[in-house]
């Protein structure tokens, strides 16, 4: 054992410099992160549920504030816009109600995705947990909120006489497909936003514009026929319509499923490479 001169010698028994990891190793590490993250479902379920509990603790109405806030918005905007857009209330209100509830989930996930890693800084810096756990936790949080909002839909349907339909199963399929997309959205936006802190702000603006450009409050049929395709190519519209339309008893246009399918495949492909490459760097950006 000899004392080393720190000026010249960096370390004991130095060997050759280890090679940096290859892309294949990056991909494998990312896969381990995501798969272990999924296996630990009780962990993210616990954390996600606690997020909701924490937000509404000590309030009398608790998490039903979510429901109440959404119901108030739907009724007030519904009455106003039925009047402004000259729509019959008995059609417009159920449309707007389901639209809002589904859009709430969509935009909630996209916006929340931006802060998955930033907001988990305290944990990520202390424990080597799979990063995907925090994405799933974010999804749990948003699904719980969505389920509370969904309570509004049955009364709307009963009041305005929208019958139960087999198409509800298609809505469930659409919902599952969207949540699946939530995984890559969380990994992708979470990583980008950790590095570029202007991104969360940018995404907030993007979602604001998307809200007006997507047929959330207005119906696609209000567009002149030659512009309808443009609306249908909007990925937000695609995901909105594969959940909302079947809830209202209509099958969504095929193009919506096609767009949603393409977004899923491209999204996962891009994220696989992107997240693999930068997963290990995230912690240094926090």
């Amino acid at each position: 054992m000899t004392e080393l001169d720190i000026g010249r010698t960096a370390s004991l028994d130095r060997g050759p410099m280890p090679k940096p990891p290859t892309m294949a190793q990056h991909l494998r590490a990312a896969w381990v992160d995501v798969s272990i993250g999924l296996i630990d479902w009780r962990v993210w379920l616990l954390l996600g549920m606690n997020d909701i509990r924490q937000r509404y603790r000590r309030s009398r109405l608790g998490q039903f504030w979510i429901t109440l806030a959404m119901a108030t918005t739907i009724v007030s905007l519904g009455l106003l816009y039925a009047f402004l857009l000259h729509q019959p209330l008995e059609q417009y209100l159920p449309y707007l109600g389901t639209s809002f509830v589904v859009w709430g989930l969509l935009s909630g996930i996209v916006l929340d995705a931006c802060s998955v890693f930033i907001a988990s800084e305290g944990f990520l810096r202390q424990v080597p947990m799979p990063k995907s756990v925090f994405v799933h936790r974010m999804l749990v949080r948003n699904v719980v909120t969505f389920l509370h909002n969904l309570i509004i839909v049955p009364p709307l349907f009963i009041i305005f006489g929208i019958p139960p339909s087999w198409t509800w199963l298609a809505a469930l399929a659409g919902l599952v497909l969207f949540l699946l997309n939530g995984i890559w959205i969380g990994l992708f936006l979470g990583t980008i936003c950790a590095r570029f802190r202007d991104m969360p702000q940018t995404m907030a603006s993007v979602m604001q514009i998307a809200y007006f450009l997507t047929p959330v409050m207005w119906q696609r049929t209000l567009l002149p026929p030659k512009y309808r395709h443009m609306a249908e190519l909007n990925p937000f519209q695609a995901f909105l319509s594969i959940v909302r339309d079947p809830l209202l008893g209509q099958m969504p246009p095929i193009i919506s499923w096609e767009v949603a399918g393409v977004v899923t495949i491209v999204g996962f492909a891009v994220t696989a490479i992107f997240f693999s490459r930068f997963r290990a760097r995230i912690i240094y950006w926090l």
Binding site: E3, L12, G15, L46, N50, F123, Q126, V127, P128, I283
Partner: protein
């Protein structure tokens, strides 16, 4: 079998915000340890670890010493797997528990029971394993019905006792600590010490960063001296501590 291998690990932190020039001069004036270097015209980076190599095996109790800013915390985070080194290689084989922050993951608004689960999850336990520990933690903390109440109703002593009980209920293969954890409560100190010793015995590899040399001599068989992000010396605890004391 647990083992840790660091092979020429270098860790640097890119700093993207703020103007390079002003920030650089600011940092140079302030930092105690880590080196600041300009990567290129637009980036400043703080080098926290430089070319560190070491191996640890079952039975190793490594004490980590060095001045503030010498890279101890960064090294602990590399050893726990939190920082994957951008340069060099780190292979950590074994289940790691990091007791750097005993309260991490706990929520003052949640009940004692909820906190047992929340805290355990961040110690690397599954929810099932955490539930299995509940009875034992109830017993150790003697908090009784308080466990059903939100943690904000606890006294500081009670809170520490709970955090300590949960944090030491794990059986990791690799245990990482930044200063020794403890439950300050005077009446409790013997019980806590016994429990901590049990944990230290069960763990295969212990890494303890501390400024308390007496403690390191007692608990560790090896020591590593960090200086300006470099591993200056690693070896038997007495030899390394002697160099450190003579130097400091």
């Amino acid at each position: 079998m647990a083992s840790i291998l660091l092979d020429r690990v270098t860790v640097d932190f890119p700093i993207y915000n703020a103007k390079k020039r002003s920030l650089k001069s600011e940092l140079i004036r302030r930092t105690v340890g880590g080196h600041i270097e300009a990567i290129d015209d637009n980036h400043v980076s703080v080098m926290a670890l430089r070319d560190v190599s070491l191996t640890l095996h079952d039975g190793d109790r490594l004490g980590l010493i060095g001045h503030n800013g010498a890279g101890k915390s960064t090294l602990l985070r590399v050893l726990s797997g939190v920082y994957e080194p951008p340069i060099g290689r780190a292979v950590i084989d074994g289940r790691v528990s990091s007791l750097t922050d005993m309260m991490m993951g706990m929520d003052a608004e949640a009940t004692g029971y909820e906190n047992i689960l929340l805290r355990s999850v961040f110690l690397g336990l599954s929810v099932k394993q955490a539930q299995a520990n509940i009875a034992e933690i109830e017993d150790f903390t003697e908090l009784g019905n308080f466990l059903k109440l939100p943690m904000r109703t606890y006294s500081t002593g009670m809170m520490v006792r709970l955090a300590f009980a949960i944090s030491t209920a794990v059986t990791p293969e690799i245990l990482i600590m930044d200063e020794l954890v403890g439950a300050g409560d005077a009446a409790f100190i013997d019980k806590a010490t016994a429990r901590l010793n049990g944990l230290l015995d069960r763990t295969r590899i212990l890494i303890l960063a501390s400024h308390n040399l007496e403690l390191l001599r007692r608990l560790c068989n090896k020591a590593a001296l960090m200086e300006e992000g470099r591993l200056r010396m690693i070896g038997p605890v007495d030899e390394v501590l002697a160099v450190y004391s003579g130097h400091a």
